[in-house]
């Protein structure tokens, strides 16, 4: 929807609308990429540069994030002939995407460089799996991990479940309500030729899948894939020369934590997540609120994470997340679709990048679905959301990405169509 007329654009939040995302790039989302993270990263960064209509010489900044499972920016820059004025490889997983976009804005604002490409390259299925499965699962447990891994409390699902269970206890949230997230995202993925899982599943399918760790069924969990993704950030002024319609960054909250980031369960209520704090930065900086958002990208490492964040960022009242995600609102054709690509549940696991990429395309009104391409090279969207059909949201003007690291840490970003 259009921005409210009374939005205060003269506020001290002076970076509002001053930066833009001009390029996005992906590899295929696969299991068994058959190549290094360096080769994957090069592929995605090149695609992002081409998507922006830029050349290697136009990019002089590079950021990446990883958890000891990927290549470094210097290799990607070298491979593509990019001479860097700034680069940094950050330790991190989910919630890094939005935070790094904020860092990119900051270093450009500081005059350190002009255009930054951010990438995340991972063989998340064939090399280093996120939950610590495979060879790493047998590694000795030492130091602070003696308070967690020694109890078989290690993977993301195991670690987050205290929050998920407590939300059910505190608010009566049901397994079926939360399973509706998977059903919605799978429906979206069925309209995404890139998605790893394109098959539509029902709430009943989710509830009938085996329990991994309560309250998580197999289908409450995201997919593990091999892929790289890239996003290019530059000033709004420079973005005028880019190939696509401008997508402006309204506001960012980055790696906002609940108290006790070392062990966030020490403070409560534990059924609340970091979005409860991040929203106090995000919405005032954006000058708009949840009611103004057309499409959300709430991180779906698990069905529960999508629900918890939508709730704590204020898309519904606290405790009503189960209802919000199961009443049709978050489905294509609903009032505010979430993760229209299928997200981490179905498209592929990228630690947040693909959800931002999808929303950039939504704001360009140029989502890469199966709609026919016209003589001008642009898709003629049908807005028919049946299986195999369109996934473009009509008149998408404002999006919100809600990134998740764990219940205690999150990032967020609001973007708008120029």
């Amino acid at each position: 929807m259009p921005l409210p007329a009374d939005t205060d654009v003269s506020s001290p939040k002076h970076l509002r609308d001053k930066y833009a995302i001009v390029g996005v790039g992906e590899t295929t989302y696969t299991r068994g990429s058959g190549m290094t993270t360096r080769a994957l990263g090069t592929w995605a960064v090149k695609n992002a540069i081409l998507d922006a209509g830029l050349t290697a010489a136009d990019v002089d900044g590079m950021l990446s994030y990883q958890s000891g499972d990927s290549t470094f920016g210097t290799f990607i820059a070298g491979d593509l002939g990019i001479r860097l004025n700034f680069f940094m490889d950050v330790f991190g997983g989910g919630s890094s995407t939005e935070a790094l976009i904020g860092i990119a804005m900051g270093v450009i604002e500081a005059g350190m460089c002009k255009t930054v490409v951010i990438f995340r390259a991972m063989n998340g299925y064939s090399q280093v799996r996120i939950g610590g499965t495979g060879a790493r699962s047998a590694a000795p447990v030492a130091g602070d991990m003696l308070h967690s891994r020694a109890y078989g409390w290690q993977s993301a699902g195991q670690s987050f479940s205290f929050t998920f269970m407590r939300h059910m206890h505190d608010y009566g949230t049901t397994p079926a309500q939360v399973a509706a997230v998977r059903a919605a995202h799978s429906a979206h993925a069925s309209n995404n030729p890139k998605a790893y899982y394109k098959k539509r599943v029902t709430v009943e399918d989710v509830l009938a899948s085996r329990i991994i760790c309560k309250p998580l069924h197999l289908l409450d969990c995201c997919v593990e894939t091999d892929n790289a993704t890239a996003i290019i950030v530059t000033s709004a002024d420079r973005a005028r020369d880019a190939r696509h319609h401008r997508v402006l960054i309204r506001a960012i909250a980055g790696r906002v934590c609940k108290p006790r980031a070392d062990m966030h369960y020490q403070t409560g209520p534990i059924s609340a997540v970091a979005g409860r704090y991040a929203r106090e930065i995000l919405w005032p900086n954006a000058g708009i609120g949840p009611q103004d958002v057309d499409v959300t990208g709430s991180y779906d490492a698990f069905t529960f994470t999508t629900m918890l964040q939508l709730e704590d960022y204020g898309f519904c009242k606290k405790g009503e997340g189960g209802h919000y995600v199961s009443d049709g609102t978050i489905r294509l054709g609903g009032r505010r679709p979430n993760n229209t690509s299928g997200g981490h549940q179905c498209e592929g696991y990228t630690h947040g990048m693909n959800m931002v990429i999808e929303n950039v395309r939504q704001l360009r009104h140029d989502v890469d679905d199966s709609c026919p391409v016209g003589p001008d090279g642009k898709r003629k969207h049908t807005y028919d959301y049946r299986e195999g059909g369109c996934r473009q949201v009509k008149d998408c003007e404002v999006t919100a990405n809600l990134g998740w690291a764990n219940p205690g840490t999150g990032s967020a970003m609001v973007m708008r169509r120029d």
């Binding site: 205290f162 206890h169 409560g268 534990i270």
Partner: protein, 173 residues
């Protein structure tokens, strides 16, 4: 000297340099639960840290703490990540609110101590016992011996406590 142990076939290691954890587990090895008590604000804290999260004091003393409380939340694991736990499925990981310092310094805070549900002799609980425990269950601390000098604090059902009529359990068994 580092302390190493083999627990359920899983290697555990405690490095000499890791002073806070060394002190914590030294008490555990004697089957006694101690937490750091801040010299400044007198609050207890968990797990071991290198300063006080409430007043930044770096000075603390190890104080004996009664290991009693109620389950605040839990997960019941049916798919083990670590090989060590595959023979013990399903197992419970409990987040327990200690009675001491509950609701302090603010209403939503508590010393929330992680552990598995175990039998009174420290063995991971069998499936029939796992099914009886949920949010609200009263538990007491026991210890699982991993090896010389290294024991893990764990939780057993508190037989002497008044238990809730029906602890909250995930609706799908």
């Amino acid at each position: 000297m580092s302390i190493t142990a083999d627990y359920l076939g899983m290697g555990l290691r405690l490095d000499e340099l890791d002073g806070e954890n060394v002190a914590y587990f030294k008490h555990c090895a004697g089957h006694s639960f101690h937490l750091q008590q801040c010299d400044g604000c007198k609050l207890l804290r968990y797990p071991p840290t290198t300063a006080c999260p409430w007043c930044m004091s770096r000075e603390a003393k190890w104080a004996p703490v009664e290991g009693k409380g109620a389950v605040h939340s839990y997960t019941e694991v049916h798919h083990a990540i670590q090989p060590a736990f595959q023979a013990h499925l399903p197992y419970l990981v409990l987040l327990v609110d200690l009675d001491i310092q509950k609701g302090k310094p603010t209403a939503d805070e508590a010393l929330r101590v992680v552990g598995n549900l175990v039998t009174p002799d420290g063995k991971l609980a069998p499936p029939d016992l796992v099914k009886t425990v949920g949010i609200g269950t009263r538990v007491r601390m026991v210890f699982s011996d991993a090896g010389p000098g290294l024991s893990l604090p764990q939780w057993a059902i508190d037989e002497n406590a008044t238990q809730p009529d029906k602890p909250w359990r995930y609706p799908q068994e």
